[in-house]
Subunit: 199 residues, 2 copies
DNA sequence: GTTAGCATGTAAGGAGTTACATGATTTT
DNA sequence: AAAATCATGTAACTCCTTACATGCTAAC
């Protein structure tokens, strides 16, 4: 069971909220992970097949009436035969393991974990945030070294690029520091922790 | 001649400074495009082959002494047979076309163009910066709509993700505005334009 | 003489995309 | 009846990566 892609994690995390079919998963991805995270069907359906083959999700056995046999359904929308997937116990285990152990070196990977932070303990959340912070600080040092070493040889535009990269990284670090602070003080009002377990 | 990848543009741009072999190109990419831009050889060499087949670069005919025939060279480092590439006139044309017409929707694509801004006219530079700015402003609107539409349904952590995404985008826009301003005022001190044509 | 660094290249594979193919249901 | 939307899936392609294979030259 090789390390899962961000998409696999996101699908598992979404299915934890309840059984869903592919088309719906795609729509919800944009809501849960931010409007910029979109996935094509050509990527999503093969992903679902992989997850099913690994036993991390399964096709839901349509409880009660068999959808396919009904004609002219009673207001319950029938539509085309949809495959509704649900997460398996193995999928849950895998999801939690991946969520905690996930690499923090890649922005996408980190953001995918972050979007499902509500499923982690406060300690695990702080751990991931700290690891991400350390990584960004190392990145910042790389930027500084690069400026130091190449100072004379680099183009003014490259300089702008590097300086802007540093500013963006510094802003990311400040964001992480605020989040860590929020977690530590337990926050008592509109903060993250207990909220939005809306299901 | 399909639209070139960022790597192809970067290689052509680097070769405009003078003939180079693959190993050296890789080292210089990090200097010109910032420390985070690295490419593996497994990606670079096939790219060079593609560029040669398209006639955008050519193997330099070793002027003067033929490297391979010399034994025990006279202090000039011989090393292993290296293939030195140089940009062709077609490559130059292609480079300029791609540089000006390049998409601004993708961060990598834009940054690659930006790193070679010194080869563009002030008007072309301002044009690209403005197009990038418009794109980021549209992205910002997408973020805002997403918050508006999903307000009630989204998790507090997703909210943090979206808000941070917006802050980062706003910072990017301010950076672009500063750059546009610099270009317009023609800047008279340490600004971009005339500097660093150091070769 | 062995290790480190310079130098080029191939093979396999991962993770995504677009375009295509198909078909059901709802709205106009 | 046509068009839009819901719904699933495959095929071909892109662009990158890691791991491997090879070999030269300089330094210890």
């Amino acid at each position: 069971m090789a390390s899962a892609s961000s998409l696999e994690i996101a699908v598992l995390g979404l299915l934890k909220e309840g059984p869903m079919h592919g088309y719906e998963i795609r729509k919800r991805l944009g809501v849960t992970l931010g409007p910029l995270w979109t996935v094509s069907f050509g990527s999503l359906y093969p992903c679902l097949r992989r997850l099913r083959k690994s036993g991390l999700v399964q096709e839901k056995t349509t409880d009660g009436a068999d959808r396919r046999r009904r004609k002219a359904a009673t207001s319950t929308k029938t539509r085309r035969s949809r495959k509704v997937y649900e997460i398996t116990p193995e999928g849950e285990t895998h999801f939690f393991t991946e969520l905690e152990e996930g690499a923090v070196y890649d922005t996408d990977t980190f953001q995918t974990r972050f979007a499902f932070f509500r499923y982690l303990s406060k300690e695990a959340r702080i751990g991931l945030l700290e690891r991400r912070k350390v990584h960004l600080q190392e990145k910042l040092i790389e930027f500084r070294d690069s400026l130091q070493t190449a100072k004379e040889r680099i183009d003014a535009y490259t300089m702008q690029l590097i300086e802007h990269g540093m500013e963006a990284t510094e802003q990311d670090i400040r964001w992480l520091e605020r989040l860590i602070d929020n977690e530590r003080t337990g926050e008592g009002g509109s903060g993250p922790t207990g909220s939005t377990r809306n299901r």
